[in-house]
């Protein structure tokens, strides 16, 4: 395989993989942010409870 062909398929494969990752992480990350805020909010409120 020539370098031109190798880089062409590497580029297309890389962009495709990244698109898939971006979709999954964008959706999953939104849920994770909600969980992070809940966890940190609960920890912040702890001293007041005791």
């Amino acid at each position: 395989m020539s370098w031109e062909t190798f880089w062409k398929w590497f580029l297309l494969g890389g962009l495709g993989l990244f698109f898939g990752l971006a979709v999954v992480v964008s959706i999953g990350g939104a849920f994770d942010i909600r969980a992070l805020f809940r966890a940190m909010g609960a920890r912040r409120d702890e001293p007041r409870d005791h």
């Binding site: 370098w3 990244f18 971006a22 966890a39 940190m40 920890r43």
Partner: protein
């Protein structure tokens, strides 16, 4: 620079400025909002160690796919052609291997350290932590010393602004915004803004790649690179281009970027568990690859676009009597100017907003990283670790502002006579060549000693010989003539790495640590090694 005289009027319009302003204001608002969640240093530095997989991946990729990364990787694509793709390929493969094996990062997470110098103390003692922390912060601040310059070249190229006053004003305002929300929010604001930046930049960069490919076409790209760069534009092992020693240096850089470089390690330390660390690295390998691949590709497109341009060719490609500084600056400007020519109104604003957010994101990650290293690893140990959480956060915030001021001065003063990526690799090497030896032997070799650690850390300083101005000041041309080969940044970096590894082994064999009773704290690294 007068781009309009070259027939390169930017398509950046007032609508695009509005998009940028709204987006950046929203980012600052997020910084204010999340400030109320900060209650301890662990919250401030590693987000309470509560990051789950998707958010950890987004923030890691978001932080690494910064404007500066895009600028230096595009510059590599412009100067190296398709052969530059090897950097992304290697970075992705190495990160994947780290994720699958847990090499270095899993033992670090198991120990629960926040910074690498904290590991130094547990394994080698407090003195090594202070020296290592100081070297890390110094190298780190120098490493980000040209971020503002890269950012300013991007803003100039994309918007077509030619007035030096406007440029300085925009950069100062940007730095002010970064300082404001980093000081306020710490790691929590960093992860949230990195996530938002990841979403915007990932999709807008993919669209930009599609438009660039549509504008030029694959066949014209291949022909253009061949005519300008020859076979070295495709084959990374060709000595007329990168060469085999550069490729080996990139393998090492790939390893360092993901498992020794403090900003990446901080993400591992912030992960919820070691399983999340492995998953984070395995999936982030795509991000580590793409952060080079997409900008490399846009750089290649810019090269072919300007090589075929009737008036801009002599400005960007065949520059008569160019100094190294001019070559470095023009090759960095090429990608944003190219984007300003092909992107439509609206999309150019979104890309601009995403890139500027990326600029802020990288800046805030690095500012937070180096200032917290100075606080946790240099200042706090000097006070016997008796500083309160409140004092540590205050010291970190003051340091962020001081480092920010230094960056403004350094960006305007330092003459960059080499590719930005090579400058960053060399300045980073001052720290990571020694750090790699300490981590590798500290985790996996029981006999590694304090003396070896000191020697390895100091040996890393030899990497500065790879910087252009240092090279010129020490008249290394004469040494090169005597040796019969060129002392490139890659060769100097590899030699510094080998030196640190040898010094670590020699120091440990000649001056081993005295045996002492094992305490629970000191037994942790050994457990990690098992």
């Amino acid at each position: 620079m007068d781009l309009e005289a070259l027939g390169l009027s930017s398509r950046f319009s007032s609508i695009d400025w509005v998009i940028v302003a709204v987006y950046l204001t929203a980012m600052v608002a997020v910084g204010f909002y999340v400030n109320r969640y900060i209650s301890s240093m662990a919250d401030y530095v590693v987000a309470g160690r509560a990051l789950r997989s998707c958010l950890a991946i987004a923030t890691m990729v978001g932080s690494e796919l910064g404007l500066v990364t895009v600028m230096y990787a595009a510059q590599k694509g412009f100067t190296g052609g398709f052969a530059a793709f090897h950097i992304g390929l290697i970075a992705g493969l190495v990160t994947l291997l780290v994720g699958l094996s847990g090499f270095i990062v899993v033992p670090l997470r198991e120990m629960g350290v926040m910074t690498i110098p904290e590991f130094y103390e547990r394994r080698f003692g407090r003195g090594v932590r202070v020296v290592g922390g100081a070297i890390l912060a110094l190298a780190g601040v120098l490493n980000m010393g040209l971020f503002l310059k890269a950012g300013s070249l991007f803003v100039t190229g994309l918007t077509g602004m030619t007035s030096p006053f406007e440029l300085k004003l925009v950069m100062t305002v940007l730095l002010g915004l970064v300082l404001l929300y980093t000081v306020l929010g710490g790691m929590v604001s960093v992860v949230v803004t990195d996530y938002l930046q990841f979403v915007l930049l990932a999709f807008s960069m993919l669209i930009a790649c599609g438009l660039a490919l549509h504008e030029i076409g694959w066949a014209r790209l291949v022909d253009g690179v061949r005519s300008v760069r020859g076979t070295a534009g495709f084959d990374p092992l060709d000595d007329a281009g990168f060469g085999s020693d550069y490729v080996i240096w990139m393998v090492f850089m790939g390893l360092i970027s993901c498992c020794v470089w403090q900003t990446a390690v901080m993400r591992a330390c912030a992960a919820e568990s070691t399983q999340v660390v492995r998953r984070l690295y395995a999936w982030s390998s795509i991000g580590f690859m793409i952060r080079f691949l997409i900008p490399n590709f846009l750089g290649v497109c810019a090269l072919v676009y300007f090589a075929d341009h009737p008036t801009a060719r002599t400005y960007f490609v065949d520059i008569p009597d160019a100094t190294p500084e001019v070559l470095a600056e023009r090759s960095m400007q090429a990608m944003p100017v190219f984007l300003s020519q092909i992107l439509p109104v609206g999309l150019i604003g979104l890309i601009g907003a995403g890139m500027l957010a990326a600029f802020m994101s990288t800046h805030d990650s690095y500012l937070l990283c180096w200032s917290s290293v100075l606080t946790q690893d240099v200042i706090s140990p000097c006070f016997g670790n008796r500083l309160s959480n409140r004092t540590r956060i205050l010291v970190t915030r003051v340091l962020i502002v001081v480092i920010g001021m230094f960056l403004l001065v350094w960006s305007l003063w330092y003459p960059l006579g080499q590719d930005l990526w090579d400058y960053m690799a060399v300045t980073g090497a001052v720290y990571f060549t020694g750090a790699f030896a300490l981590l590798l032997f500290g985790i996996y070799w029981r006999r590694a000693s304090r003396c070896g650690a000191y020697l390895a850390l100091l040996g890393g300083a030899s990497a500065v010989l790879g910087l252009g101005p240092v090279h010129a000041a020490l008249r290394l041309d004469a040494v090169e003539a005597a040796l019969g080969f060129e002392l490139t940044a890659a060769r100097v970096g590899l030699a510094a790495t080998a030196l640190c590894l040898v010094l670590m082994v020699l120091g440990s064999v000649v001056a081993p640590d005295r045996p002492k009773p094992i305490t629970p704290m000191e037994s942790v690294p050994e457990a990690g090694a098992a």
